[in-house]
Structures are given as structure tokens and as C-alpha cells.
């Protein structure tokens, strides 16, 4: 099975304060650590597990500057076979549509059975690239997948996660694209040997010219006008004091509200 996994490098903002920068169109990124987007890690693990079971190769694709190689090398270290980075100033200026078009152009030159992406990115939270890419490649797709079964090498049986803990079970013909939900598996860490081997694996870089992309065709369809801090109105009555005082006040409150 020939599998392509799309990886996105994102700033890790899960436990940090996020502020808007002076342009008002981006966040302050100086102190942030960059990492593989959470859901993409699960997509990569899904691909590696399928490769272990059915054979074949795993190709990684990412869009971004040279820094993105860290994410790709990490994926290679975990067991992917080769990586492709799509880099151009033109791509940076784009939106989700631009990214989907660029990746579709790169993939149109590759033989594949299955494309996996994360279901959502922790930065923009758009959930657009996967299904948009499938549409451009004219293959069926399923979003928010949390279970996969391959039937006779030609079909997929998947569970999609809907609201309220409901699952939708569906069947797709290969080639297909799935966007992978977090929690579907336990992403591995790379081994020392894996990290050593990754350095020798192919990582190809393509720009707009090399991809043969029509610049007009990847122009963004949306404009990010501004970013700003949401107004959060704290409704809570804050309980303050020393830890000891807090625990006493809190215990009294819990006792009353829990009806102890």
C-alpha cells in the first residue's frame, strides 16, 4: 500500500499564552516552540501501522520553509520512507485553498492508494485541507476518522466521529483520503537507530517552478483581515487567600453543593 501523509508544522500553543503581533495579522512567535501538528502525528502513526501490516511505502509531504524539515526528519525517523517539502514565498502568502492546490499538484505526480492528513490543525483550526485535497484529486474522502479497516486491498471500512459520541460507519473505495482524529492510536517516538537512518532518507524540495504550478491557480480565495484577543468575561467569583484558606472555603462550598 502506497500511503501519503500530509504533515503541518505548528507552534505549540497548548500550554502557553498567545499574543497578537504588531502587524495585527499574526501571533507573536518569537518564544514559541514548533512541532508536528497533533492530529498529523496520529495520521502518521496510522500510516506506519498500515505499512507494517500490509507493506508498501509512506511518503511525507509538508508545505513551508526549511524549518519544516525538522518535522519531516522526525517522520522519517519514525519509519516513513521519503519526504517532500513544498517551498515558495507564494505558498506562504496563501490560504487553505492555496495549500490544498499546491499539495494536489505535487501528489498528481505520485502513485498512491491512500492519503492521510490530520483532522484539524491546532493553529488555524480550519479542518479544510484534507477534504479540499480529495476534491482536487477527485477521490472519495472521509473526515474525523477514528477507526480503519482495509478490505481486500481495494476498500476501506472506517468509523467517523460525529457529535455526542455517535459514530458513522462507511465504506470507501481506494484510492481515498482520510482525515484522522486524535486518539485513534498511540503515536510512537523515534528510535535512536531510526533517527540515524532518517538522515540518509530522501527529502526532496520543490518550489512553484519545479512543480509547474500556474501562479494564478493558487491565489488565495480569502483574506485574513486581523487577529485580536477575544474578550473573555470572567463570570466566576474567585476564591482567594492562602492555600489553606482556599481549601477551607472550597471544602465548605463542595460540601454544600455536593449535598454531603
Amino acid at each position: 500500500m502506497e500511503i501519503i501523509v500530509c504533515l503541518k508544522m505548528v507552534p505549540d500553543t497548548s500550554e502557553t499564552e498567545v499574543r497578537v503581533d504588531s502587524t495585527g495579522k499574526d501571533i507573536l512567535k518569537v518564544r514559541l516552540v514548533y512541532t508536528t501538528n497533533e492530529a498529523d502525528n496520529y495520521a502518521l502513526e496510522t500510516a506506519l501501522l498500515l505499512k507494517e501490516k500490509y507493506g508498501g511505502t509512506v511518503t511525507l509531504i509538508s508545505v513551508g520553509p526549511q524549518k519544516v524539515d525538522e518535522v519531516l526528519r522526525m517522520g522519517l525517523a519514525k519509519g516513513a520512507d521519503r519526504a517532500i517539502r513544498l517551498t515558495d514565498d507564494l505558498f506562504e502568502k496563501g490560504d487553505a485553498w492555496t495549500t490544498a492546490k499546491v499539495i494536489a499538484q505535487a501528489i498528481s505526480k505520485i502513485k498512491f492508494d491512500l492519503i492521510l492528513t490530520g483532522c484539524i490543525a491546532t493553529d488555524d483550526g480550519g479542518s479544510q485541507i484534507g477534504p479540499a485535497l480529495a476534491a482536487l484529486l477527485n477521490i472519495p474522502s472521509a473526515a474525523y476518522v477514528n477507526k480503519i479497516e482495509i478490505i481486500d486491498n481495494v476498500k476501506l471500512k472506517v468509523d467517523r466521529e460525529l457529535e455526542g459520541g455517535i459514530l458513522e460507519k462507511k465504506e470507501l473505495h481506494l484510492p481515498a483520503l482520510l482525515t484522522i482524529q486524535t486518539g485513534i492510536n498511540t503515536p510512537r517516538y523515534p528510535s535512536i537507530i531510526g533517527i540515524k537512518r532518517a538522515a540518509a532518507k530522501p527529502l526532496d524540495v520543490f518550489d512553484a517552478t519545479k512543480l509547474g504550478i500556474d501562479i494564478k491557480a493558487i491565489e488565495s480565495l480569502t483574506i485574513l483581515e486581523r487577529m485580536y484577543m477575544p474578550k473573555i468575561e470572567a463570570k466566576a467569583q474567585f476564591i482567594t487567600g492562602s492555600d489553606d484558606e482556599i481549601s477551607l472555603k472550597l471544602a465548605t462550598l463542595v460540601k454544600e453543593k455536593a449535598g454531603l
Binding site: A132, E163, E225, A236, K255
Partner: protein, 328 residues
């Protein structure tokens, strides 16, 4: 023209549709536009009857293949409708259904898509959408370079039309039935099989009066046992956010939030939960909410009744002891 797609599951119209009807009516009255609802189903009439007073037109496409949602089958039908009637904007719920369909549809039509929006402004030539980024820590305004565009709307962003505080419309939609024609190869590409439910482990958190919910802030799995003990001491059950499920620390049926369960206990204690939108939507109706978090700006404090800014790993043992003393 404003179009919205009616989402239904097993014959039931999803709440998001009534919320989008509120949004559509708000824009329609300001911009003097008409609202067209689109129903794709095996049985359109009951759905049309339910919404006909809230929109100007209804387009129905009926076929057994449209009984259950399926992007690949919806796609040609919706593409044709959008190409035909050229709505300024098409609203689709940002749901398990909409997130599967909307990017596919917009991309195949090469038109702008704005996802997971919680507010929309439409002027004669411009569409502006407000949405969250970075897990709700930042808001962004995004505009569409051209129209028509597709917009997915976040659940819970608007009141339902029948309980709206604005004037409830009393329209009488005209119904147009369109034929269902589809390339017979498409249903073979992608087939709906059935709905399923997450396996249960015996404890139903929706039935518990007291819930102690944990999030990323508990740091390590080993901290769970003390919290579980505390939950027992106050007669409560343990619940959690999505990251705890993803880490495999608690079973899936303990998850509170949009992809988990909606709970309304008498007391909800949120420990180390920052309060992402997805979580808050599942617990905001609890009678009393107490939140402990080290970040004073955490969104959880916007729904909590009582807040403690501090290290839960320090406060919890002290609290557990106090409870024990009081019970003794």
C-alpha cells in the same frame, strides 16, 4: 440569495439548522435577501413542514440514496444547485457532517470557504466571518475575496429560530422539487453503512449529580488516582476533556464536550481544564461550576461560578483532607 443546507439524522433536524436560520434571517432582513433552505433526504416533506415558516424558499431533492448523509452523493446535487441559483452565501453546520462536506464542495467549485465561524457580516460585495484560532486563544476576522462563498457555522453561536429573542419570522416557503440524477458509479465509491455508539464502561456520567472533570493540567496519569479517590469521597464520578481520552488515561465514555457527552450535573468541578469551546459546550449548563486553573485568563472562568487560580496538585490534597475532616 442566502442558502442553507438542512442537516438531519434519522429523520431529526439538527439544532444547528435552527441556529443557522436565525443567522440567515438576521442577514436577510438587513440585506433584503431571500433565504432558500435545501433539503436532501429520502423524505423531505416533514422536514420542509418544520422549517417552512422560517425561510422564503425550500428546494427538495428526494431519493433513497439521500436518506443518510454522504459527501460523495450530496456533492453533485449541491454543486448543481449552487451553480444554478448562485447564492451569495451557503451556510452549512460546522458539524461532523459539515466538516466532511464543505471543504470538498467548496474546493470542487473553486469558491471561497470560511469554516467554524461564530459570526458573519454580509455587505453588498463582501462577506466577513469571525472565528477562533489557536484553540480559542485568538479571534480572527476573515473575508472572502469573491462571492458566492460557503460558510460553516459553529454550533451554539446563535439562538434557535423558534426561541429567538429577535422577531420570529412567519413566512410561508414555496417548495421546489428537483430531480435526483447521479452518476451510478458514485454510490459505489462511498457507501454509508450504519451509525454506531462509543462502547460504554458501566458509568454513565450524564446521570451523575456530581462530576469531577480533569484536563491537561493534571500533568501526569499518576495524579488521576488521588482525584478518583476524592471523587469517591464526595460521591461524584470522574469525567474529562478530549486530551485525556487521546492519551488513553480514561475511557471514551468519560469525555465531556462536543465530541463527547453533554452533562448537566448539580456540581461540576473542573480541574486543570482551560475551557476550549468544544469542552464548554458540553458542561456550561451545570448548576454549579467550580474551576481550578493556574491561568487566570483561562476561558473556563467565563462559565464557572467559582474560580480558584492556583496549582491544583497543591490544592487538591488539602481540599481532600478538609472534606475528610468534615465528614468525620
Amino acid at each position: 440569495m442566502i442558502t442553507l443546507l438542512i442537516e438531519h439524522r434519522e429523520g431529526q433536524i439538527k439544532d444547528i439548522c435552527f441556529e443557522m436560520l436565525t443567522l440567515a434571517n438576521k442577514i436577510a432582513s438587513a440585506q433584503k435577501k431571500e433565504i432558500t433552505s435545501v433539503i436532501l433526504s429520502d423524505n423531505c416533506q416533514p422536514i420542509a413542514d418544520t422549517i417552512k415558516s422560517y425561510c422564503h424558499k425550500i428546494i427538495c431533492v428526494e431519493d433513497n440514496l439521500l436518506q443518510n448523509f454522504n459527501t460523495q452523493i450530496y456533492l453533485p446535487v449541491l454543486s448543481n444547485i449552487i451553480k444554478e441559483i448562485k447564492p451569495t452565501v451557503t451556510f452549512i453546520g460546522h458539524t461532523g457532517f459539515g466538516t466532511d462536506l464543505a471543504p470538498y464542495l467548496a474546493s470542487s467549485l473553486s469558491i471561497p470557504l470560511l469554516t467554524d465561524t461564530f459570526d458573519i457580516e454580509l455587505s453588498s460585495d463582501k462577506l466577513l466571518a469571525r472565528r477562533q484560532m489557536y484553540g480559542g486563544k485568538i479571534n480572527a476576522d476573515i473575508t472572502s475575496k469573491s462571492l458566492p462563498a460557503i460558510v460553516t457555522v459553529r454550533a451554539g453561536s446563535f439562538e434557535k429560530i423558534m426561541t429567538s429573542s429577535a422577531l420570529i419570522p412567519n413566512l410561508s416557503a414555496s417548495i421546489t422539487k428537483l430531480p435526483f440524477n447521479i452518476n451510478p458509479a458514485i454510490p459505489e465509491q462511498s457507501k454509508f453503512l450504519e451509525y454506531g455508539e462509543v462502547p460504554t464502561t458501566g458509568i454513565d456520567i450524564t446521570k451523575s449529580d456530581v462530576l469531577i472533570a480533569v484536563g491537561r493540567g493534571i500533568k501526569e496519569q499518576k495524579n488521576l488516582s488521588a482525584i478518583e479517590k476524592f471523587a469517591e469521597d464526595i460521591g461524584g464520578a470522574l469525567a474529562c476533556t478530549r486530551p485525556i481520552i487521546d492519551a488513553g488515561w480514561l475511557p471514551k465514555d468519560r469525555q465531556v464536550g462536543s465530541s463527547g457527552k453533554t452533562v448537566k450535573p448539580k456540581l461540576y468541578i473542573a480541574l486543570g481544564i482551560s475551557g476550549a469551546f468544544q469542552h464548554i459546550s458540553g458542561m456550561k449548563s451545570a448548576e454549579t461550576i467550580i474551576a481550578v486553573n493556574k491561568d487566570p485568563e483561562a476561558p473556563i472562568f467565563s462559565v464557572a461560578h467559582y474560580g480558584i487560580v492556583g496549582d491544583l496538585l497543591k490544592i487538591l490534597p488539602l481540599l481532600a483532607n478538609r472534606i475528610k475532616e468534615m465528614k468525620a
